[in-house]
């Protein structure tokens, strides 16, 4: 793994102007997100609905125009590029969508779907034909599938087509936007295996956007957790999963059910109270404070910065004034179901 990031996102901001009850207002979808993806690495961007993870992904490939920030891909700031240059740069950066049913043209055959990106990039016809067959093998579909239409496939097969299409022009990086969340569990596992396989074989880097932390764990090298437009915690997967520091990360991990009745009955959960605040009017200071059992006045006044627990760029970073375990209860009234002092440590909770 080289030391130069393949993708550098800096202070990415996306605001949507909307009219709410006749009044013009601004939805703060992404509010200053920064991260790096190293060559061959998988960074998982996780969070719940409305946290801005998909908007971030779309801004990176400029399917949505960001309001401000920098997206440096292989050294070039994509946000500065004109249309033709952007198209050239995107040869190396492709996106796979959640719902292949919606992202594949229903009246094109698989052959046409896979040829299209190659033709757009002016590949000669004989190369196209050969490449299409290669792609089919890459995603483990059979030659007889070439002349079928998307509706003739199962969800898993359709997602294979979606992946093949993204790989057509040999990108070095994929943005995967919830690629398995629409699929049944057994099919999900197959697609995850395929993605892991392709990463090894083609040396791809992934930005894997997902809400499912258990799915992500299988392939993420690093994880960035988003809440209401900001990254609240980031670090190596083992650190974030094994030793979560931000209260939101801890709540999120604790909410994932464990498929084991014995563990499940014994463990204590952090159940968050309340609802996600509106991104039109996010809370001052720390955006999580309205639901945090450790919040104090300081959290409302001073926004916590994403600070490293050690000095390396890829180390464990947390945006919280009071990170870590609840060994010492704070003065704040807990809004969770249990008192903070009763909460098990990460190790106990994740058995």
């Amino acid at each position: 793994m080289s030391d130069v990031p393949v993708l550098q996102v800096r202070n990415l901001v996306k605001e949507f102007r909307v009219r709410e009850r006749g009044r013009a207002s601004v939805v703060h979808a992404v509010s200053g997100v920064s991260f790096d993806v190293m060559p061959g690495e998988t960074l998982a961007l996780v969070g719940e609905s409305g946290c801005g993870k998909s908007t971030t992904g779309r801004c990176i490939v400029r399917l949505t125009e960001p309001t401000s920030g920098e997206v440096r891909f292989r050294g070039t700031d994509l946000l500065q590029l004109k249309h033709a240059e952007l198209r050239k740069a995107r040869r190396h950066l492709q996106i796979v969508f959640q719902d292949p049913q919606a992202s594949l043209h229903p009246r094109l055959t698989v052959r046409q779907l896979l040829s299209e990106p190659l033709e757009v990039h002016h590949e000669p016809a004989d190369v196209v034909g050969q490449r299409v067959e290669e792609l089919l093998g890459l995603v483990q579909l059979r030659p007889e599938h070439l002349d079928r239409y998307p509706h003739e496939f199962s969800g898993g097969q359709r997602q294979r087509v979606g992946i093949a299409r993204a790989l057509a022009i040999s990108p070095s990086m994929l943005v995967l936007d919830e690629p398995v969340s629409a699929l049944d569990v057994s099919i999900q596992a197959e697609i995850m295996r395929l993605l892991i396989d392709l990463r090894e074989r083609l040396g791809l880097s992934y930005l894997f956007i997902a809400h499912d932390l258990a799915v992500v764990r299988q392939l993420a090298d690093r994880v960035a957790v988003m809440y209401l437009g900001k990254i609240v915690e980031t670090g190596f997967a083992d650190d974030v999963y094994g030793n979560p520091q931000h209260p939101y990360t801890r709540a999120l991990l604790s909410a994932v059910p464990v498929p084991d009745p014995i563990v499940e009955r014994r463990r204590q959960r952090i159940v968050l109270a309340g609802e996600l605040p509106s991104p039109i009017d996010p809370p001052s200071g720390c955006r999580f404070r309205t639901r945090c059992w450790r919040a104090t006045d300081r959290c409302a006044e001073e926004e916590p910065l994403l600070i490293g627990r050690n000095r390396t760029a890829t180390g464990h970073h947390v945006a919280c004034h009071f990170p870590g375990d609840d060994a010492t209860p704070t003065t704040a009234q807990p809004t969770t179901e249990q008192a903070p002092a009763d909460q098990p440590t990460a190790e106990q909770r994740l058995v």
Binding site: E48, V185, M192, V258, L272
Partner: protein
Amino acid sequence: MTVAGRQRNDEPILHVEDLRVTFRTAAGPAPAVRGVSFDVYPGEALAIVGESGSGKSVTMLAILGLLSGASVTGSARFRGTELIGLEPSRLREIRGANVSMIFQDPMTSLNPVLSIGRQLTMVMRAHQPDLSRSGARARAVELLDRVAISQAARRCDSYPHELSGGMRQRVMIAMAISNDPEVLIADEPTTALDVTVQAQMMELLADLRRDHQLALVLITHDLGVVAGATDRIAVMYAGKVVEYGSVEALFADPGHPYTRGLLECLPRLDIRHEVQASIAGVPATPMSLPPGCPFSPRCKYAQPSCSEAEPVLAPHGQTLVACSVLTGVAGSR
């Protein structure tokens, strides 16, 4: 049939036997449910687990008489009353009062043009004619409060679109418990929700079960949710129950190759493991049922005899398993 994972002798509140549902389609009959039997006991939670197209939702819709245009045979008795073929007016008295149901997508199950208070009072007054308008309203506020909707009195006048997904599902739950049912059927109640909201919802369901001695039938594809929230499981595949037993037994010692495969391919947070894509191929559909055991084309352990006869549920370990290779019990042809 032996009651898998049950020692108690009390009477089931819901007894389903050999339920079959066949849809008529342009391409011929589609047998979506092919002989399903299970029992639900007072206060217990049963999970019906399966992937898309396994027939899990159709089973429950058929029991409540919510399928039109399908042929439904077999038996489903609620406290001794046969529900299959029951006249619609009698069924309506039971449905929503004694047995109620919540659905996966609260946005499409709530009426978008009526306030949630109005919808709640309608459900109550349909089953309790003596209830006054103001009494129903007061009860609606109480119910919203019970399902932890803040400022319940104010929210009562909200419309579904003004609520978040989690709040809408709370309203659905409030509606479902408004007539103090004995059985609550929840069809993928948390699938459309975020994981922290799912945790809130499962906790609410557990509280309600405890406070109201509710029996819960949880229809889901998610074995993770099942582990903490239910007592027994029926695993469905291609319109049949392929394994039936207590949660503990089924997780500790799954018998059916399909159950095992499902558990193996589940991603887990608590332990690092390489997820296996252990079930090859695609699920059988009602229109393309293979001969014999419907799982045999995807099964690692399949033998030639598997495609000859369809296995029946028989004891294996501590669960009931429909697999002739494991149980040695010959199937039906």
